[in-house]
Amino acid sequence: MSAGRRGRGTVAAALLVAVLAWVVLYPLLVVAADALRGDVLAIVRSRAEWLALWDSVWIAIASVALAAAIGVPLAFLFERFDFPGRGVLGALMALPAVLPPLVGVIAFLFLYGESGFVARAVMAVFGLREAPWRLQGAGAILLVHAYSMYVYFYLFTRAGLARLDESMLEAAASLGAGRWRTIRRVTLPLLRPVLAGAALLTFMTALASFSAPYLFGGSFRVLTTQIVATKLNGDLPTAMVETLALTVVALAGYAFLRLGEGRGLLVAVGKGTAPRPRRIASAALRRLTAAAGWGLAALLLLPHLTLLLVSLVPDGTWTTQALPPRYTLANFAALVTEAERLRPLLNSLWMAAVATAAAIAAALLAGHLVVRLRARLARPIEWLLTLPWVVPGTVLAIGLATTFGVTRPLAGRFVLVGTALILPLAYFVRSLPLTGRAVLAGYRQLDPALEEAAQSLGAGRWKRLWRVTVPVLRPALAAGGGLAFVTALGDFVTSVLLYTYDTRPISIEILSSLRLEQVGAAAAFGVVLMAVSAAALGVGARVGGAR
């Protein structure tokens, strides 16, 4: 590395760190400072606050347990056993992933809510006059979490099992270990890093979860919903303390679970081929497994189908019947023909696109500085890129709202709240870990000789970037960018705290449609988000696999 290039690298790294620190870390510090300036003790002594904290933590832990209990056995079933339809069903099991959080929640509402399909069916069958249950409280939240988060355990465990070396299992067998002993003493310990990784992802997602507690929580409050309620009540000092508490819990949970991940044991020793799936010997059992698989897939697909069905129902035509009597495409037509509906769609599209593009650019710069130049500030850069993932979206939004709600140029604070910039900024911050992680991983696998070869062939910096680096990193860019775009497009958690009427995104429009009982319109938005998510994730996977 030449002294000159290294010097320029250091300057660029310092600039990147400064910008990232300004939009990622600084808002958190502003919140912490504001929180500690207020009457912390009074809040710390409040029973309601401790209850919300405790509810957040136990919901997150219970979500991990439920997600693992569903995801891990399913992963073993699909990776180790062969039965009819295994390939298709195995892919269908990941379907909950294409539902953005808010969309999943409203789908559950339409399906299992008091006036949802299942309740109506039960009422019709048993001749009840009222719904036999209410989709509310901790149980409802856990139901949504289990449905949407088992996918992490399922996908991680399958990937881990696929990398497992068959010869290790054979070695255990040759040493006299039976099937259960092998699983307990060999397979599970080897899977520890992936299980810990899935647990970490689930815990952080559940702790940050907002849509499910917001719509189903009722009087049951977790910290994320408590913060929003406190802020709406105008009690800012308390909201600051709550936000700080949630930040601390998130950081502590992250630190604790990262310890459990350990070193990449599986990668270090796994060189052989994974065992082939075993054909289930008994024909009856094989058919039963296939039938159960299809049943489960249908259950998993019900929310998607519900959403689609409701989106086809014209407003006001479905009252007491078990199934809606009429179906049209009017709700979808309204999305593009009615200016009031088109506006949020376009808002979300441009804001998500701008945020994703900026996050990809930042990730590329970070990859170049961290991996290629090994700039002195590599660790702070990586850390700042990870931080928005560790910290719940509610915290990020409160931080941005507080920091950029006043103008103090000397403190680096300007009024952005209420402008068209604040939501793209929030989406950008939330996108950083997604693009950063993908691009850094891609950069680490990128042979530095490729860029050097281009250089020795006379290519300058921009030609190297556009003709070599970006094309070779395309799978990583597509995967990270796709995920970032989908997340921003469906974002609810930061939008609810930062939107203005003119920049209202899809999620806010879904919510107001629900309030106005325009369920068809809400569902139509949901279907659009679901379709875009599926397309973006599918394209990401295909481009990623094409390499």
């Binding site: 590395m1 070869a453 250089q455 006379g458 003709r467 395309r474 390499r547």
Partner: protein, 326 residues
């Protein structure tokens, strides 16, 4: 070397974290000459090549090509072609686009040049092939064609054959030599294989611990090593007690196996029992173990002795003498 040096390396030095990778290296390469940088791993040969390409900046010294000081010229402006150890072919471009990457030409002129260079490496018509479907030897030739296409002033090759199957190496080496000779380009290449260095290099520079030990033709290096390291590194050598080979007490004598001769003369200084015989053509290496547990090798006609024979050997020529323990 004719017409003075074309590429001149003057007092080049590069230190990483207090460890000198290259120290005070001075070398000259004539126009059209092929120079091999030979040395064990960690000898600084790859660093030297990367300094020449411009990927590393030297702490001291200068690099001059055709009278122009290029020490501070960026790699993309240096016009040095480089073939990387693992070729570094762009996986997202086909063969033709890889070769065309460094060309300023566009359109037909570009296509003509690509075809011309591919023909030069015996890959005519391969333009639209994906690089992933080529064999290792073909990939290497595409990498060579790509680096030669923009007509660089100097060609640099990093371990050009190390990535190939042993069975392919000899053939590829011949093809490589033919292509380089055909273009007549000034070439510096790095290798840790003596055979490769001797076969491809007009001259060979032996590097050790970042320093130049000796530069010369393969014959010079073999017959007249300038340092004990070169004597030991090039070819096979026996390390024998100096005083029994006509030297001072406490010194050691470096003697090639072919410079030891079996003899019936009872006064010959080295005696022992043959423990091993390895055939090479009509001759054989005999490993002789002395009573004190030390052993040496003699290259002699294969019938000169048999395993288990007690033999004596005389020294015909000492390659190098040095003071100190063996």
């Amino acid at each position: 070397m004719s017409g003075g040096p074309f590429l001149s390396i003057q007092g080049l030095g590069k230190t990483y974290a207090d460890r000198p990778a290259v120290a005070d290296l001075t070398l000259e390469v004539g126009r059209g000459e092929v120079l091999a940088l030979l040395g064990p791993s960690g000898s600084g040969k790859t660093t030297t090549l990367r300094l020449l390409a411009g990927f590393e900046t030297p702490d001291t010294g200068r690099i001059v090509v055709a009278g122009e000081d290029v020490t501070d010229v960026r790699p993309e402006a240096r016009r040095f072609g480089m073939v990387f150890q693992h070729y570094a072919l762009f996986p997202h471009l086909d063969v033709g686009a890889n070769v065309a990457f460094g060309l300023a030409l566009r359109g037909d002129a570009q296509a003509r040049r690509v075809a011309e260079v591919l023909a030069m490496v015996d890959l005519a018509g391969y333009e639209r092939r994906a690089v992933g479907e080529l064999s290792g030897g073909q990939q290497q030739r595409v990498a060579l064609a790509r680096s030669l296409a923009p007509e660089p002033r100097v060609l640099l090759l990093d371990e050009p054959l190390s990535n190939l199957d042993p069975s392919l190496r000899e053939r590829t080496r011949k093809e490589l030599r033919r292509a380089i000779t055909r273009v007549g380009i000034t070439t510096v290449f790095v290798t840790h294989e003596q055979e490769e260095a001797f076969d491809l290099g007009d001259r060979v520079a032996v590097l050790h611990a970042g320093r130049l030990e000796q530069v010369g033709t393969p014959d010079d290096l073999y017959d007249a090593p300038a340092t004990p390291f070169v004597a030991r590194f090039i070819g096979r050598v026996n390390v024998l007690p100096g005083e029994r080979a006509g030297g001072a007490p406490g010194s050691v004598a470096l003697v090639r196996p072919e410079a030891l001769r079996f003899t019936a003369d009872a006064s010959a200084p080295f005696a022992g029992t043959v423990t091993e015989r390895r055939f090479v053509g009509d001759r054989a290496y005999f490993v002789v173990e002395a009573a004190d547990g030390t052993s040496f090798e003699v290259l002699a006609p294969h019938g000169a002795a048999a395993v288990g024979d007690a033999v004596r050997a005389a020294v015909e020529r000492v390659l190098f003498r040095e003071q100190g323990a063996r």
